[in-house]
Amino acid sequence: MQVNHTKKLVTNLKRGTIIRGKWNGTKYQVIQKLGEGACGVVYLCERNGVQAALKIGTDSSRIITEVNVLKTFQKVQGKRLGPSLLDVDDWVTPDGITFPYYVMEYLRGTELASFLRGKGKEWLGVMMLQLLTDLEELHDQGWVFGDLKTDNLLVTTPPPKLRLIDVGGTTQTGRAIKEYTEFYDRGYWQRGSRKADPSYDLFALTMVMLEIAYGSRFERGAQPKQTLEKKLQHAPVLKPYRPLIQKVWAGGYGHSREMKRDLSSMLSSPAKYKAAEMKNTRVSRRKEAEKTSFASAEAIVIFISVILFYFLYSIVAW
């Protein structure tokens, strides 16, 4: 594709490079590269002393599609889904080549896997509950996130809050999923279609949990369904979540609200929770005890606030 030759021109912009908008003249100064994906490169930038994330690409249709999704999210009052959109423009390089870009809120955060490393396993449940809260909002608005995967989950602190980034796969309910990654795709695992419905995201969420449990993705093998089942049985960290995950796989949740309800009641049931805690203590490698005890204290606070929020929310929803 032509795209590949020109993309090189924006994959390594030097610190200090000025990106000036062709349409509105706004200038951004490049600080450093944050990441690179299939359709663009994301840079940390600065404008008038304020930091922002700027995504620049070569495929203007994909960039614009993402902008369209971010725009619909801005219109909604209340909770913010994904980073907020700040600017959309084109940059004409000194060589005269035009690149489309958009500027969004910079989310300073840690990847989910590194955030969870060394923390108590209650954290996985708390993070998934947060994720379900966002998905519920998204699904209520008639959208499905689509390309839900660990790469698209950032944890910002303090307080620890899971945020969704990269809305490239976000699709209107009922349409064909725009973008997906095989490991998280229920079609790949022979567990359903690629039509956007809430349970598509819930399946991907269970795969996020499996990936966290194993520390990596794995192949589907000759019998995808059996592979999944085996992987679930052999992950002690996921033991308390097994019934929940299996219900998702069986297509038992039509909406994220139902799964959230089950997860939050599971997490707040003290007896079961303790029993599970005894058998297995850490998501993965332990770090210093000091850090973890701090972490669990923090967890309780988050925990209570999540449950509180949930109650408030359900009252409002009624």
Binding site: M1, I64, V67, T98, A176, Y188, R194, K195, A196
Partner: protein
């Protein structure tokens, strides 16, 4: 805008053509007839370098108005559906652009539009991509070197129908292979909305070293005209044939 049918040829190969007319020229012809030609070059998973002749992959797709990609077998499924969808978007964008020019009377391409307008155009393109009918003729190079890759190809094509059948528009697929001793292409599967039966279709043939891609493409072009379901080649020069409701 009326509902229409997009026509695509998806060529899967692993080498350069070496017999008959130039496939790049044939692809230009196909494009002129309203058919988009996409090409995927398939590498062995242990192949470290791109073999000679694979530049042709890009050249064919470019002149066929389509998308090309060279991939390892492992990534074939994801690539096949991506290339197909990308080519749909590209074609539909062209159509919408054409309509816009008629309205605005300007020589503007999508990229030159201000971001806001681009966003609106993209919404229309997405709606069309979801609802339009699509015909994909899959043309598989089954020459000797491709034989070990055919099970991956099957998997990828099945996966393609999974992706496309999630849309609301109708799909029709057909599968042809080449080379063949007596004909330029051999029909493996007639036009069908699902690719469920695909596991049975590939014959175990290993022909010699000939790869007559050009003649195969040319013959493939005519397979669209032969079936009547979506109308004939009357509006052959339009990339997006309007069939009405």
């Amino acid at each position: 805008m009326k509902k229409g049918t997009l026509k695509q040829i998806l060529l899967l190969t692993d080498g350069c053509s070496n017999q008959g007319e130039d496939p790049v020229a044939v692809a230009a012809l196909a494009n002129n007839q309203g058919i988009t030609v996409n090409v995927i070059g398939v590498l062995d998973d242990d192949q470290s370098e791109q073999p000679d002749g694979l530049e042709e992959v890009e050249a064919i797709a470019m002149s066929g108005g389509g998308v090309s990609q060279i991939v390892y077998q492992k990534a074939l499924s994801q690539t096949v559906q991506m290339v197909t969808k990308q080519a749909m978007t590209q074609t539909l964008q062209g159509v919408v652009n054409q309509e816009l020019k008629q309205i605005l009377g300007e020589k503007q391409t999508f990229e030159e539009l201000p971001p806001d307008q681009r966003g609106e155009v993209m919404e229309v393109v997405e709606d069309l991509g979801e609802t339009c009918d699509l015909e994909v003729l899959v043309l598989v190079d089954t020459s000797a070197s491709m034989t070990p890759k055919l099970s991956t190809v099957k998997e990828a094509l099945f996966d393609l129908s999974l992706s496309l059948n999630a849309r609301s528009g109708n799909n029709r697929f057909s599968i042809f292979c080449f080379p063949n001793k007596i004909k330029p292409i051999q029909k493996l599967m007639d036009w069908t909305p699902e690719l469920d039966g695909i596991s049975k279709v590939f014959p175990k043939l290993a022909s010699g070293g000939i790869t007559p891609t050009g003649p195969a493409l040319k013959e493939a072009m005519y397979q669209f005209g032969k079936k009547s379901l979506f109308g004939s080649m009357k509006h052959a020069s339009e990339p997006y044939e309007e069939t009405g409701y």
